[in-house]
Amino acid sequence: MQNFDRRAFIKVGSIAAFQWLTLGDALKAQAETKKGDDVSVIHLFLTGGMSQMDTFDPKPASKPEFRSKFSPIATSVAGVKVSEHLPRSAKLAHKYTIIRSMTHKTPVHVPACGLILSGHLPLSSITHPAVGSVVAKELGPRNELPAFVSVPGSTGYWESAGYLEPRFNPFDAGNPNVAKYQVRDLELPLGVDWARMDRRRSLLKLADDKFRRYDSQNLIENMNSYYQTAFGLMQSERAKKAFLIGEESEKLRDHYGRTSLGQGALLARRLVQAGVRYVTITRGFNTWDHHANIFPSLSETFLPELDMAFTALLEDLEAHGMLQKTLVIVTGEFGRTPEINNQAGRDHWANAFSMVMAGAGVPGGQVWGETDENGAYVTKDPVEIPDFTATIFDKLGINYKKEYVNPLGRPTKLSADGAKPLAFLYS
């Protein structure tokens, strides 16, 4: 008998098409290349919230009590200035767009992370799939590497497949900025070689075949498809190589910076090169949340780290001929208050914040939008989050107006209703 349940029914309608999709099918599906299919995304996700005034939207004429301790410096683009602690970024300003007019209304970390990563404000009963998960679902893996990878790992449920099948969750790569970095469980345990693993697998096949008569729901086939994917990944020379960050020269690794963000960015380049579609990199959840002592934190640690990782990534992508096909995004979930609090920090501020984008056809040397003299409110060309996610989908050749039916039975567009790609991000 079929079941009654509306939600399950909807799932059958909208999701099951992918449920039994094996890697082979996915590869077959990929044979017909669509527009944008060769585009990938690397998102340097500065969770906690990057201060706009102290980075890409300096406000030297703001009220003195709001004013950044950092001076603006000139960039490679006439008239455009950024913080003095982003010197390498300043030199590459002709390669990216700064959006100074990002805005939303949710200055709370978790829902704002959900908004930035999915294009939807979370409901307490629903987790919307992150853009990377939608990409994994819509485009599938390019090869035996997963489509969506998080470095070092998903920061939480907001960075997940949400109500989609868990197979679209990001694959956690771990922190590459450690000696002897390796991906968890990717290698066989000590003392087990593939010959021994094959013996184990043949024993396992005997057992699973025997158990099959219990299964009226295709559960075993489904689980076995995950075994195939896992073995495919574990035995893939391409995957192993992609994770071998030690193959890169010490010089290049130093250039990216010996930080989790820097090495994460380098790993991201390797992964995209090997076929991964979407990589999110963080230095851990909420680390950019500078409620206290913001200036030394930024100038000594966070900005040098970002400056190195971001610029090295742009240069490296370009050197590999990948920048035209790789969308690089730098943003937190919101900005920070122009007002400096009594702990010498800045608090949450979503009314205006900055985002930087490059690659995949994003024009270089562009500044979009303006904020007032304090960096508090957008005064020109505000940009809403759903338009930002619609742009990502569009650049990847995914119809951003496509509807999923969420678990409450409500049809939900990939980017919230009315969203459309941002024309200024196309050249």
Binding site: Q2, F4, S124, G156, R184, R196, S216, Y227, F231, G409
Partner: protein, 804 residues
């Protein structure tokens, strides 16, 4: 008896003798001079097959009323009488009441609004969606006539109506497709719908006078139905009762739809056609009301020689009745091995030890299953698994308070279960709870979000305790149900004073009742008075805690939701699927797969004083629970009627604790002493006790719909294949494997048997024994490796991972 033999005995399809005749509606009521009331005559034969025979029946309504076209009863004068139907020598009677003529005025609410619902304009994909369509937004399924009136006559500068030239109104030209219309033609020029709207426009498009009768109930007949063979049809009829006592035949006025059109389709006017075997429901909607007819489509007439299946208790009676109705034969009784493993997993949270297994399997006592159940229900571990179920359900340890609050909450649940505190008492106490989250576990009930807000509390209570999803109504009226924003905020208002504060210093979170507090309605910005769902207002009197009244209302035997929602969840713990699924989505348009079973469980639960243990005992002793999961030819496709035990992935805790028991090697849980069972480790959101628990879906507990994620993932499988959990389990020295290997009296065969019995609760087959022994050679290291491989295989086997 073999299944194939039974299949051969399926009835030939010859029609059997009629034994019962029924008339719908059971009381025929209409107004004198009105269009009357459609009726249905249903004949049931000796094999229990019902069919509609209205056209073939002999009908008479006496002097008072006439039967038109053998279908509609109408009459000119008020009075009472009887309708008599005869078919195949059997008769039935229904009382007929002809009411006084109703005022014949055209009503916007009752005549015009339903047109837009039936013509599919006001559904959630079109103008009824939250955002409307192309600027024209109607209320969903006509739930709010005020909104519709405003949209039609006022919005967009009133351009949708043309009072000077009514036929030129957009509200007619668009649906009649005289103008380009994305939705195409909804009705034709000159149709009844068209003329009715035109008539209303000609009268100046008035709104109804105050006190206009409003639809109170919508009922569809027959109440449920089984169709035999694709292509068979049945006519449904819909009857509306209004709050002024008037009635209407709404068969042609409601919007009919099928939940699964591939199983049965329905045409406007209520004619249903069976498409293929399966179950669905036909919905009828108008003016924000909905009714559903559960529908079964089967291929063939009932099997003549359906086997006699033993019923252990009331559960089996209802489950097997439904199976029989759908021509499905339940699976065989599970083997003792299958039953043993299953019942241990569900009550103790682990497979039985070898010793326990040998004792049970060796016993010859016919009543040994019931005896075992009685013993297991007294095991202390039972409180641990219940604590885990409740911790999942109530999201214990959701917050940063995490370990402290979640731990205390879990301990409170454990204690309640150990004492078998009645569930209604538990719930009443939770609803009125206050206190420090780390000291008083119960006070975490409200602490399921970063902040305690009345809105979150309302969502939480309605979904967890009543099985109702009202969250949609936070922003807009519910798309499938009667809940409106007023209902949502009225319910939230019960929790207006419930708040969180940091007690004493940091990290001592608590739930407390503020001196005052109110919930503001987002539209009016005025304070909302607490209001029960589907019930009355309950203003808070000073000096009292209105939650006490709410707690009584929730757990009252008269509450139509509480007992059903609770037994449905408990049923799902054991059976893998709710009778209503999702378990928190009770609504007219999502009917239970077995209403009689749900009712019986709820009654039993209430009659038993809401004792979890008593209900658990009934479920475990039912033959339904003890059926094998191996399907037969008739029930392989059934996933909703419990014809066979539903195979599903075990919980992470059950897997980890069983592994540790098999190998004698404990699995380390973060911050816990070595050897602590996973099932007793508090659920935490921020930080999982170990990686295995993380990848095997211990909850994040964020979503109110918080059930375990039992779906596979690549990380999960990689961890099973090469992760340190199993690697350590099988290679650690001085566990049970080493003890067996060192024991010179122990043969290789015996070790294989021990592994199978302790991990899979059964002895290996000869083929399995041979395969296992094939790798075992004399050299001690190689011998150990072979058994490591066997353990690896067992822990990776689906038989181990899946509840069956």
């Amino acid at each position: 008896m073999s299944i194939l033999f039974l299949l051969a005995l399926w009835a030939s399809g010859a029609e059997a003798r009629t034994v019962e005749l029924k008339i719908y509606p059971p009381e025929v009521r209409f107004h004198a001079g009105s269009a009357g009331q459609k009726i249905l005559v249903v004949a049931t034969d000796e094999e229990g097959v019902s069919r509609e025979v209205t056209a073939a029946a002999t009908l008479s309504a006496g002097a008072l009323a006439q039967v038109e076209g053998n279908r509609v009863v109408k009459g000119a004068l008020a009075g009472t009488g009887k309708l008599r139907a005869t078919f195949d020598g059997v008769s039935a009677e229904a009382p007929v009441e002809v009411l006084k003529p109703r005022a014949n005025e055209l009503s916007f609410i009752n005549d015009i609004v339903p047109i837009f619902t039936r013509a599919d304009c006001a559904n959630s994909n079109c103008h009824g969606s939250v955002r409307g369509q192309k600027g024209f937004k109607l209320s969903l399924f006509g739930s709010d006539p005020d909104v519709d009136y405003d949209a039609i006559t006022r919005k967009a500068d009133g351009k949708r109506i043309d009072k000077a030239n009514p036929a030129n109104s957009l509200v007619l030209r668009k649906p009649a497709f005289q103008e380009p219309h994305g939705g195409g033609q909804r009705f034709k020029v000159g149709s009844d719908d068209y003329n009715l709207i035109l008539d209303w426009l000609k009268r100046g498009a008035p709104y109804d006078a105050a006190g206009q009768a409003r639809l109170r109930t919508l009922t569809v007949y027959p109440p449920d139905w089984r169709m035999i063979g694709a292509g068979t049809q049945v006519q449904l009829i819909a009857v509306g009762e209004y709050n002024d006592g008037s009635v209407r035949d709404l068969t042609n006025a409601v919007a009919f739809s099928s939940n699964i059109g591939a199983i049965a389709s329905v045409k406007p006017g209520g004619l249903v056609t069976a498409e293929q075997a399966g179950e669905t429901a036909i919905m009828a909607r108008t003016l924000g009301r909905a009714a559903a007819v559960p529908l079964i489509v089967v291929k063939d007439r009932p099997m003549k020689n359906y086997p006699q299946v033993t019923e252990n208790n009331f559960i089996d009676k209802h489950v097997f009745a439904k199976l029989r109705r759908t021509n499905v034969i339940p699976s065989e009784l599970s083997t003792d091995e299958e039953f043993l493993r299953r019942v241990y997993m569900d009550t103790v949270g682990m497979a039985p030890t070898m010793e326990e297994a040998r004792a049970f399997l060796g016993a010859k006592d016919a009543g040994k299953r019931a005896k075992l159940i009685d013993q297991l229900l007294e095991r202390p571990e039972r409180a641990d698994i219940w604590s885990m179920r409740f911790s999942d359900m109530y999201r214990a340890g959701y917050n940063e308070a995490g370990q402290k609050g979640g731990g205390a909450y879990g301990r409170w649940f454990r204690d309640q279960v150990r004492k078998d505190v009645p569930y209604d008492v538990m719930v009443r106490n939770m609803l009125v709870s206050q206190g420090r989250h780390d000291f008083e576990g119960i006070s975490n009930f409200y602490f399921v979000s970063r902040e305690i807000t009345p809105e979150e509390s309302g969502v939480n209570v309605s979904q967890l305790l009543l099985g109702l999803q009202i969250e949609c109504a936070r922003c807009h009226n519910h798309p499938f149900e009667k809940w409106k924003q007023d209902d949502f905020y009225g319910f939230a208002a019960f929790f207006a004073r419930v708040s969180r504060k940091d007690m004493y210093l940091n990290n001592h979170n608590g739930t407390y009742l503020k001196e005052s507090g109110e919930v503001l309605h987002p539209k009016t910005n005025k304070p909302v008075t607490p209001k029960y769902l589907d019930g009355d207002f309950e203003p808070e009197t000073p000096g009292t805690d209105v939650r006490e009244k709410l707690a009584k209302w929730v757990t009252s035997p008269q509450n139509p939701y509480f007992a059903k929602a609770t037994v449905n969840r408990i049923w799902k713990f054991f059976m893998g699927r709710g009778i209503v699924e999702q378990v928190d989505d009770f609504r007219v348009t999502n009917p239970p797969s077995n209403a009689a079973l749900l009712d019986a469980l709820a009654q039993e639960f209430a009659a038993g004083g809401y004792s979890l243990k008593r209900l658990e005992r009934a479920i475990l002793n039912s033959r339904t629970y003890q059926l094998s999961s191996v399907p037969n030819e008739t029930n392989r496709a059934d996933q909703v009627n419990y014809s066979h035990f539903l195979v599903r992935r075990l919980m992470a805790e059950q897997l980890v604790d069983t592994m540790a028991q098999v190998t004698g090697v404990p699995v380390k849980m973060a911050t816990q002493p070595l050897g602590k069972r996973a099932m007793t480790v508090p659920v935490l959101n921020f930080g999982k006790p170990n990686y295995m628990m993380k990848v095997f879906g211990r909850n994040d507990l964020r979503e109110v719909i918080c059930e375990r994620d039992t779906k596979p993932s690549v990380a999960q499988v990689m961890h099973l294949v090469s992760g340190d959990t199993i690697q350590q389990q099988i290679t650690a020295k001085d566990g049970r494997l080493d003890a067996w290997l060192k024991d010179s009296r122990m043969t290789n065969r015996q070790i294989v048997e021990n592994i199978y019995l302790s991990a899979l609760t059964r002895m290996p087959g000869e083929d399995e024994m041979n395969a296992a022994l094939a790798g075992v050679s004399g050299d001690a290291a190689t011998r150990r490796q072979a058994f490591e491989d066997l353990l690896w295989m067992v822990f990776n086997s689906k038989e181990f991972l899946f509840h069956h």
